[in-house]
Amino acid sequence: MFLALREIAFARGRFALMGSVVALIAILMVLLSGLSVGLVNDGVSGLQRMSATSFAFQKDVSKDAAFSRSLIDREAVDVWARQDGVEEAAPFGNALVNGKTDHDVAIDLALFGIELDSFLAPRVAEGAGLSGAPDEVVLSATAAEEGVKVGDVITVEQTGAQLRVVGVLADQHTFGHVDVGYLPLRTWQEIRAGVREGDQVPDRVYREITAVAVLGEDVDLAAGDKAAGTTSMTTKQSYGASPGYTAETSTLQLIQVFLYAISALVVGAFFTVLTIQRRPEISVMRAMGAKTAYLVRDSIVQSLILLALAAAVGVGIGLALGAVIGSTPMPFALEAGPIAVATAFLVALGLVGATVAVVRIVRVDPLTALGGNR
């Protein structure tokens, strides 16, 4: 520490420059983390807040579009309900629609069709829950931001069906960046089939559902699939079936991985140059009897101080910026867990870079401290 601190103080300009690069990376990390969490929330918070543990879709449905492609007969619900470990199984319908309120507010909705007495029935925070009337809908809290309130009537553009907003849920419930609206399964089935008012509804429409929502801890999904002729995923796996989810999250993860690598390389390059520059004094200290471990430890402490301070400053600025961004409609949410993990990674990989660089110290020959001929 003796030398580490004094050298940082002496070369404070250089360390400040290096520190600001790390701090900028940390700011970017925080913002990316916020964006990731925000996008995840926007993409799948509607699923995250459901109590279902897994979903059984149409057999061999394409995994990344299961919610929009799958269509099965509701008899699968009963088959799943009989499986070992299944506490409850309920029919679930999912459809994305465009709507317009009677106040002329355009709103896109992810309609979740459910049976009122099933475990999927939502709990409202404002207004009333679904009572059984066919034209009722309960919306995500985020719908209020779009200007939709309890009492509004939403006309579904595809079919002309009219839905009355009777209640609002406590938190953000979105799916594929669209607000979720819970409605009775029968109404969902009519909308999905494109039934218009006055049309004759074929019986099969009322048998169609998107998936079976399953509740239960130790469920043998393969056995259930075999019995019901479905393809099932855990709820977490089903996030990938939400529109755009995989593409968004993998892009952001890729950027984060690159940031870690950049941090490691930049810090490594800095300490490489610093170590080369310090070679004369290192050889003097080795001649004076400083152990290699002393010199290496000193440099690593230096890099740790640099990284920790810079990361702290960067995360602080990132959180402040994040608070500003969070108040805009951008999908952005700061969560302590992901930020802590990202910061730890940033510091750890920076340390790896620095360590690789300062190992050069081992190769400095104390003999070079003596001038003249050798």
Binding site: E281, V284, M285, G289, G371, N373
Partner: protein
């Protein structure tokens, strides 16, 4: 005469092998007693720095024995040699080679952070002894060449070494400063019973020394008459 602090017996150092080999040291015998200042003079390339490197446990001789305060260096491992350099040997380098980031007083504290020292000298008092107490807070770039060299000497002495190895201490100094610096070296050597070997080009400072050896082509001559 007291027991010598440093003894070199039949020490040879050969770089490379075969036809390419260069003999840096050729059967050198030298013993330095505590409180004695021995000067080594000679042309460039004569092997003066090699002598310091071998005496200072920086490089092992090809043949011959180096004994430091009764301890033979041959066969000691690197860690033990590093330990010996830290506790028993002081180096004064050509251009002082101070650490740029450290103030004068911290230059003296630095060697004490390398490990535990037996009865180290007090850095503040030592700085006074070399006449630099008034510039304790200055960094090397704020000091003159002579001042830097004084601090370099103090730094080498802070761990109370038994042997002081001095490499061209006056190379970058003018006449008067050279006299002052070598006088300081001789004074400290005698006051603290250090065995000092000084390699130099500068014939004007030899009167401060007890013995002067000339070195040519790796061979150490007998003490020149003074």
């Amino acid at each position: 005469m007291t027991e010598p602090a440093l003894v070199l017996e039949e020490v040879s150092l050969v770089h490379g092998d075969g036809d390419e080999s260069i003999t840096a040291l050729d059967h050198v015998d030298l013993a330095v007693a505590p409180g004695e200042v021995v000067a080594i003079v000679g042309p460039s390339g004569a092997g003066k720095s090699s002598l310091l490197a071998v005496a200072g446990a920086l490089i092992a001789p090809t043949s011959g024995a180096v004994t430091l305060g009764g301890t033979a260096l041959a066969g000691l491992n690197r860690a033990r040699l590093t330990e010996l350099r830290r506790t028993r040997i002081g180096f004064v380098f050509q251009t002082s080679n101070l650490i740029p980031a450290l103030t004068a007083i911290d230059q003296l504290r630095l060697p004490l952070t390398f490990g535990k020292a037996e009865a180290p000298r007090d850095p503040q008092e030592l700085l006074e002894a070399v006449g630099m107490a008034h510039k304790a807070k200055r960094r090397p770039d704020q000091l003159s060449g002579g001042e830097r060299q004084r601090i370099g000497i103090a730094r080498a002495l802070v761990t109370r070494p038994s042997v002081l190895l001095v490499d061209e201490p006056t190379a970058a100094l003018d006449r008067q400063r050279s006299q002052d610096v070598v006088a300081l070296l001789a004074r400290e050597t005698r006051a603290h019973g250090v065995a000092t070997i000084m390699v130099t080009h500068d014939h004007d400072v030899l009167h401060h020394c007890d013995r002067v050896h000339e070195m040519i082509d790796g061979k150490l001559g007998v003490p020149a008459p003074r």
